[in-house]
């Protein structure tokens, strides 16, 4: 029972709960909430080629490498050399570990042809061998792969069953955490019903082919005395071993950020009141073929990289080289970001493996690269390998995961002209926070692109349809002209603009003409006023002259009368005066 002390425990579990031994297999420890039951046997069953041996071997190797728990592998099927070769492709050096006495492989070879059974016997030999192996390296972990082979080699089933029961008890007494593998039977979990002996933990591995695409799945059928995930979890075997994807954390209690992140297109930023997308939000760019979805996402990535954010680009359609070349034609230099280590591409064909596998692979890539921005281009291609609901379920989980990690994600989706564009094929529009729709506007024998923001959660956004143009220098949005015939784009917009300009010119011209006319009129008026004034002056002068003459005349008359009057009084004065006249 010595091993119970050394196993790291889930801090959430109380002291009284079952001690667990971490497997070190990615994701499995989360599902089992800490690992396999310490000091007890676990049964791993599944069909041929589902990864039982690899699974159990990785358990041992991780134990030896990461948790310093040596392990014994008792092989009934494969020779040590074969096993070493099998895991060498996963980067594990089994020979080295054996040399360091961290792992011991005991190959039990039973050749039916050279064995005869007579009378009573037991499997004490096996116990002794196992016990010896455990004691020599101080093993804490044991794998028996595949114990059922004994049934094929020995005829006396009664003895075997009794001995197996004894073996499991013995393993518990030894205090080793054991994995027993078993081949799936027709109706039972294992051919020989091993599950009746192992009652603590049973894990079923499955390898299913749907639409010619295989998916490996794992399910914990039973785990006595502890909580565990009950779903089927997809798992992946790749060059780093097994990774299981825990996929159920849909608790909707993710942290949110009110910081924004630029869209990469200045004029698009202006359409959002916050000047971009919220950090950690999910953005969907949908549009028909050739509307510039990839360009849109590349610009986004380009800008994010320039701002020093790490980006991961999942390309499901084009190869990274293709994208880099194509984007350099619109002034987006992605290569420089790759060189600086801020950008990484992950390209894979959707048909390479099933949806779940993709999800696992995406998870893995994200966990490894730790990006702040993720682009999936396009998600529509995934539909080729799964139904709409499956794709949606996968994307829900992906978005969930990304939001938990505060990663901003942009999906691009191809919409077909035949379907009503209000709903994307994947039905993810309800999941995303921001939805940009790029539509073809087809008028006057031209196709032009109109972009609008269908939705933007928690942020005011422009309701305008803008024309989306891809120029040598990058992407841009132009104001769309609203003419009497509706929206004008492309050359129609241009011609409308020219027309307007001409009209303006003509208008100005006419205005000038009128101004001049007025000026002339004013001049005429002024000249008329002048002449009238002159006339008036001459008349006035005339009148003045008459008036003066009259006055003179009156004066003279008055003088004359005075003189006469004077004369009548005296003569001198009169005579003098009269001579003066």
């Amino acid at each position: 029972m010595s091993s119970t002390t050394s196993s790291p425990q889930n801090p959430n579990l109380s002291i009284t709960s079952l001690p667990k031994t971490r497997t070190g297999i990615q994701g499995l420890d989360q599902i089992t909430m800490g690992g396999l039951p310490t000091g007890r046997p676990t049964l791993i069953c599944g069909g041929t080629g589902c990864g039982k041996t690899l699974f159990s071997l990785e358990f041992l190797i991780r134990g030896a490498q990461e948790f310093n728990e040596p392990g014994v592998f008792m092989a009934f099927e494969e020779k040590p050399q074969e096993l070493a070769m099998n895991v060498a492709s996963l980067g594990f050096d089994l020979q080295m570990l054996q040399h360091e006495k961290k792992i011991k492989i005991d190959y039990v070879h039973i050749d039916r042809s050279e064995i005869e059974e007579t009378g009573e016997y037991d499997l004490e030999g096996l116990f002794i061998r196992l016990g010896y192996a455990i004691d020599t390296i101080g093993a804490k972990r044991v794998v028996l792969d595949t114990l059922e082979n004994l049934f094929g080699s020995l005829t006396d089933e009664g003895i075997l069953r009794a001995e197996l029961r004894r073996l499991f008890t013995w393993l518990k007494d030894k205090g080793v955490t054991a994995i027993i593998t078993g081949e799936s039977g027709e109706k039972t979990l294992t051919r020989q019903g091993l599950e009746e002996y192992v009652s603590d933990c049973v894990i079923l591995l499955d390898h299913r082919i749907i639409n010619q695409i295989s998916t490996r799945r794992l399910r914990i059928i039973k785990y006595r005395g502890t909580l565990h995930g009950t779903n089927e979890y997809p798992f992946l075997i790749d060059e780093e071993g097994i990774s299981v994807l825990p996929v159920t954390s849909l608790q909707l209690n993710k942290p949110v950020s009110s910081e924004t992140i630029s869209t990469g297109v200045a004029s698009l930023d202006d359409m959002f009141s916050g000047g971009g997308y919220y950090r950690g939000s999910s953005i969907l760019v949908s549009g028909t073929a050739g509307t510039g979805k990839t360009s849109m996402s590349s610009s986004f990535v380009n800008k994010a990289c320039k701002d020093g954010l790490k980006c991961l680009f999942f390309a499901f359609e084009e190869s990274p080289q293709q994208i880099i070349r194509n984007m350099s034609s619109v002034g987006v230099n992605l290569q420089s970001h790759i060189d600086s280590g801020l950008l990484s591409f992950y390209a894979s064909r959707p048909t390479l493996y099933g949806l779940e596998m993709h999800l696992v692979a995406i998870h893995k890539a994200i966990k490894k690269f730790k990006p702040q921005v993720v682009v999936l281009d396009p998600i529509t291609n995934l539909i080729t390998i799964g139904s709409v609901s499956e794709v949606k379920a996968m994307l829900v989980r992906l978005i969930d995961f990304l939001q938990e990690e505060q990663i901003t994600v942009m999906f691009t989706a191809l919409t077909l002209n035949t379907v009503v564009n209000e709903q994307t094929d994947e039905g993810v529009s309800s999941l995303v926070d921001v939805w940009l729709s790029i539509k073809d506007i087809e008028v006057n024998g031209e196709r032009n692109k109109g972009l609008y923001v269908m939705k933007s959660r928690g942020m005011k956004h422009s309701n305008q349809v803008r024309e989306f143009v891809i120029e040598d220098s990058g992407l841009n949005l132009l104001d769309v002209y609203l003419g009497p015939d509706g929206i004008l784009t492309g050359s129609a917009r241009e011609s409308h603009r020219i027309e307007e300009e001409t009209g303006q010119l003509l208008h100005t011209n006419a205005q000038d003409l009128k101004d001049r006319e007025l000026e002339r009129k004013r001049k005429v008026l002024e000249s008329k006023i002048d002449s009238l004034r002159t006339e008036f002056e001459s008349i006035e002068e005339e009148l003045n002259k008459v008036y003066t003459e009259e006055k003179i005349k009156n004066d003279v008359i008055r003088q004359t009368r005075e003189q006469i009057t004077h004369l009548r009084r005296g003569t001198t004065a009169f005579g003098n005066e009269g001579s003066n006249d």
Binding site: I110, T118, G119, G125, I128
Partner: protein, 103 residues
């Protein structure tokens, strides 16, 4: 006795190893059975080595022992193993190639 020995492989030496785990009833029975058969069929032609795995557990792996008691015949070829308490004489003799099958 001599005539019987003639029927077997002409005077070859049988190297027999009996693996046991402690002095259990089964191992004691097996050893006594083996001795009896050898005396009857392989007079002076055999060597019996009894290995107690409780004392020498490291020897189990070499001869691929998983059950006890196990009788291993290494010489003469081919290698044969007989597991159990050797209570069935017929099977043991056939198993050791002392008597051909369907004798």
């Amino acid at each position: 006795m001599e005539t019987r020995a003639q029927t077997t492989n002409m005077g070859e030496l049988y190297e027999l190893r009996l693996y046991v785990a402690g002095k259990t009833l089964k191992s004691v029975t097996a050893l006594s059975n083996l001795k009896k058969y050898c005396e009857e069929h392989l007079t002076e032609q055999y060597v019996i080595e009894v290995i107690d795995l409780l004392e020498n557990p490291q020897l189990a792996e070499g001869d691929q022992i998983f059950a006890v008691p196990t009788l291993v015949k290494k010489v003469p070829e081919p290698v044969r193993k007989i597991i159990g308490d050797l209570s069935n004489e017929e099977k043991v003799l056939v198993g050791l190639n002392i008597r051909p099958k369907k004798a």
